[in-house]
Structures are given as C-alpha cells and as structure tokens.
Symmetry: C2
Subunit: 348 residues, 2 copies
C-alpha cells in the first residue's frame, strides 16, 4: 500500500499510450495527486471509478468519478474485453484536473488465477484462459492489479472493512452466487483460482446447477437461488418475486413456502460456514454480498445455524460486510495501488 507523498512516482515505461499524451494521465507531473482506475467487472455491468487516496493507507479511497457501463456479454467474449478497455479509456478521458492515473485495478468474476494474471474461465462472459491483466497492461501502459471479484472484495473488507484487525478470517459473499475469500495471516489465499468456490459441489442429488453438479448450495442458498427456488415451488413470476428480499417479505407475512425456502438456505449457509471453521478454526467470518441486506433476518438465524453444526470448535464471530456493493470496486482499487507500489519498487 502506498499513501500520498510516501512514494516517488514510478518511472513506468510507456505510462499513457501516445493517444493520451498531454492529458492528465500522461507523464508524471509535479504537484499532481495520485489516482487509480478501479473496475469491478460483473456478468452484466462494469462498475468503474477513478479513486484517490490520502495519506492514510488504511482509509477508504475517495471516489472522484464513477461510471456503470454494459459488459456487452451478449455480443461475445471479444466485445466484453473491448468493453473493459473502453471503460478504462472513458475514465482516463475524465480524470479531474490536478490528478494523474498511475494504475488500473480489475476485479473479475469466474475462475481467476491472480498469480498468472489469467481468467481461467468466466461462464457469463464466455472467457476462457484470457490473460486479461496483460491485455489491459498492454493497452494502457499502466501497472495493472488483477483479482477475483470475491477475493478482491474480501481483500477490501480485510484491509478497509469488517475484516480489519482479524489476520485470519473468511469473507463469504452471498449474492448471485456463493463464494468465499479465505484470509490467512492477512493474505487472501488463491489456490490457483479455485479457493473459496464453496457454492459448488459437496452434494449428491438435488436441483441441477450451472456448474454441472446437482444440489449445489448456489442453486438454493444464494440470494438468486432463494428467489428461484421460491418461484419454482409456487409458480410466481420473476416480476412478482425478483429477488430474495421478496421471499423474506412473504415469509414475514406468513407464507410457509417462503419461510421454508428461507430457512433451508440459512441452514445450508450455516453448514458451509461451519465447514470452513471446522477446517481452519476461523475466529471471524465476514458476511457480504446482496443477501446481507436482509440484516438480522440473515445474521441471527445464520449464527444459530453455524453453532448448530459446531461441537468442539469455538463459534466464529459473524460480522456483516461494511463496504456493501462497493466491495468489488474498493477491492479493485486496493489491487491497483498494490500494483502501482510493486511497479515503483521494481523501478528502484
């Protein structure tokens, strides 16, 4: 991590391709404040931001400019890559006066190998073995930080959010899918890109899952899975029950099917968290993703479910994530600053 004034501006070769010469993102200038571009790439949208950082590396970055653009997944994998590059270029043209962009951070869905800079596979985007870090670095001439969206979110929560002060913990994101970032000794464990994919596998039988398995937790215990399960059981339409919040509201109104769907999801989530604790004895588990908006309706029964699956292990402290839907963006910015720092150290 690097704070304002703590680090000489790195002499990165080709900082800003020729088309950017003369803009604020060109060669480092004295008196300019440092910024990075952070992209949280989703299946549907790219959230992008220009962020700057004050002298406290543990403080949240300040967002200067924010955009949401389409990932253009329907237009094929090439279009999605072009959409990522366009999002970066758009923001580089919008850098406020007095700032210079020193790096880019990318948080990407799917199976992501951080150390190789590779998207091993991203189903929704039809990406396979895509060296995205290099693609963006070559196109921009900037240092590029690169990571899995959930691990990036976990990294942000670990450094800036609910995981601060807990060197060993897990961040579990429960939204469209279910995945975890395992933080041990303060570092996010990558496992070649497959670590933390607890939403898939572990079962025999049940509803078919997009991964090819059956009964995977994602099919009924993710926010999307809760809504889908309820619709399948009741015939409700997606307009009537667009998400898990509507299922919860119906459960509160006395709908027994909604209650069963909700409770079954919580029970499985409790089992997943307990399984992590049984293996790693994690003292803290940060709960993030869209489902955490259910608040105590999630956290209280989830805590009980986790405890019901533990015997000798101390129960973990369950903590709601604090960065909310911005976790991916902040994670991308943390990755960007780390990449800028690494490039500066290499240039020494």
């Amino acid at each position: 991590m690097v704070g304002e004034g703590q680090l000489a501006v790195p002499a990165v070769p080709g900082l800003g391709p020729p088309s950017h010469a003369g803009t604020a993102t060109g060669a480092p200038g004295a008196g300019l404040r440092r910024a990075v571009i952070a992209l949280d790439v989703g299946g549907t949208d790219i959230k992008s931001a220009i962020v700057t950082r004050g002298s406290d590396p543990d403080a949240l970055d300040e967002i200067l400019v924010e955009r949401v653009t389409s990932t253009r997944a329907a237009d094929g994998p090439g279009a999605s890559v072009a959409a990522v590059l366009a999002a970066v270029e758009t923001l580089r043209a919008e850098v406020p006066a007095g700032y210079q962009v020193l790096g880019v951070g990318l948080a990407v869905p799917g199976t992501v190998d951080e150390s190789a800079g590779l998207v091993v596979s991203a189903e929704n985007l039809d990406w396979v073995d895509l060296p995205l870090r290099k693609v963006v670095a070559d196109a921009t001439g900037l240092p590029v930080g690169f990571g899995h969206d959930v691990r990036a979110g976990g990294l942000a929560e670990a450094r800036l959010g609910a995981g601060r002060g807990a060197p060993d913990h897990a961040y579990v994101s429960i939204g469209t899918g279910i995945a975890a970032a395992v933080v041990l000794h303060g570092q996010v464990y990558v496992g070649g890109g497959y670590a933390g994919e607890i939403g898939h596998g572990g079962t025999h039988g049940g509803a078919p899952c997009a991964c090819g398995g059956t009964g995977c937790a994602e099919t009924f215990a993710s926010a999307a899975g809760i809504a889908r399960s309820y619709r399948e059981l009741t015939g409700a339409t997606a307009d009537e029950v667009p998400g898990s919040a509507e299922v919860l509201a119906r459960a509160h109104a006395g709908d027994t099917v909604a209650r069963q769907v909700w409770d079954r999801a919580i029970d499985r989530l409790g089992e997943l968290v307990a399984d992590m604790v049984r293996l790693l004895a994690l003292p803290v588990v940060v709960i993030g993703g869209g489902l955490v908006r259910a608040g105590e309706d999630l956290m209280v029964p989830l805590d009980a479910a986790v405890r019901s699956y533990l015997t000798i292990h101390p129960a973990p402290r369950l903590v709601p994530a604090t960065l909310g839907s911005a976790a991916g963006t902040y994670g991308a910015s943390v990755l960007a600053w780390d990449a800028v720092t690494a490039a500066a150290l290499e240039a020494l």
Copy 2:
C-alpha cells in the same frame, strides 16, 4: 532444520539439570554427534526415540533407541505428565556413547495450541490448559519443540514424506479419530489449536459422539468408528472384530453389513476431503493414520468418492502417507530440531 556440522552447538542455559551432569547429555562436547529425543504421546502409549540427523536435513532421522511406555492415563493427569517426563529421563540415561541430546520434541493429542505451548484439552489424558512445553523445558533444561500429534505427523509427511514438493496440501489422519493438518505455503496452519478437527461437527443427528455432537464423522468413518459401527449393527464382540481390518475382510467375504459400513465410511471421508478442496483447492491430499493400511481398498474408492463431491474444482491427487505409524515420532523429531535451531539462533 539443522544438519550435522551446519550449526554451532547452542549455548542453552542449564543444558541438562544437575542430576545429569557428566552424562552424554550434559554440556556440549567437541566431536559428539547431535541427537534429539522425540516423543509421540498417545492416549495409551508414549512412543519415544533418540534420533540423530545427518548432513541432509531432508533425510529421515536415524532412530538410535526406541521405547514404548504406558501413558498411565488411568492414574490421572499428574501421572500422565510424570510418564512423559519419565520417558524423556529414561532415554537420556540411554544416549549412546558419542552422542549428545540437544532438545526434545513432543507430539501430543487433543486440542493443542502450538504457539502458546499449551495442551488446551486432551480428553483421554484428562489434561486441561496444561503448559506442557514449559513443564518439559523446566524439567530437562533443553529446548522443547511442541505440537499436535496430527499436525506433527503432517509436518513430517510435508518435510520428509508424501507431502514433499507440495507447498499446499493437507494430511488427513484416519485412525482412532479423524483430523487433518493443513499445509499452506509450506507451513502447517494451527488456528489456535482447532484447525483440522474435521472429525467433529458438521452434522445434525446420528450416533452420539464423545465430543457432545451427533453423527460426527469420527463415530462411523474413522478406523475405530468403522469397527464400532459394525459391532453395534451385528452384535459382534471386540474380540471378533477388533478393528477396521476385520470389517474390510468380512466385506470382501460377502458380508453385506460390513460392505455397507465400509462404503458409508468411505463416502463420508470423500465428502470431508472434497469439502477441504472446495475451500482451499488443495492439489494434493496425503492420507495417513491406521486406515491407510487398507491400501487400494481405501484409496481407490476414496478417490472416486472425492471426485463425486467435486464439480468445478480440479480433483486432488490422493497420496498414501509414507511414514506410517512413525509419522508422529518423526513429527516430534522435526519439532525438536526446529526448537534446537531456534534456541541456537536466539543465543547468537
């Protein structure tokens, strides 16, 4: 790790208490070969050994003297501590001419906090919050390495056995109980003493377990649990079916109950291994403990069971442990050498 001739003999204060003055374990002498005392403390027996090490720190230690003594658990917790100290003293009196003992290593069952040097609890020995490392260090005046029996076994397999060359892997010991050592970046992860206790919890319902839970994997999927389950279902006596090997033999002979008991155990073990892989994407899992003596009758169906519980995750390579029942002793000796090295570095 330290090899012969690579390290100055540490000037450890009080090396050898007064009663040992003049023995081979007294003050360091020129020309003496280095040795350590390694103890694998079990619920019933203490396996103890004097071991020496050549110039290759990755080679197996050479066992000079070996003893098995009673843990004296029935005589109460004080008697068990005395039995540990007596085992060390007995071996110190038997150090072959030309060798000097520089340290002690202890591998201990139960919930063990390595960093605190503490046995948090060891049910079979009735130990609670016992600072065993300090007890042995005070009594012997020697550096004492200290660890959990399964994590010590995993450490030995990682450095000297089946886990060599795999910086990230797990060692699963399936014997009287079921527990795992998680090795990440070459280090055994401790988690305050509770990491790897996958034999307990994770279930609702089933047979009662000594831990207070029900349906724990240890009750039916450990070597002891397999034998016990079969006896309960058939009324066979412990003389007739003393262990899992007899259950396997009966399954091969066409006994359908034995086959069901065996298959159910393998299925649950496969689920446990898959759960570890789903979280940590471990490429290698070393299988140890008594059950591994079943050979292909364990490894082949276990591999299939693990794969059946995985979807997107690459299946791990399952490898039988190579140190067998000596894993704990070698683990204790690795801990002892590490403690000797640490003491020498501190004295620099």
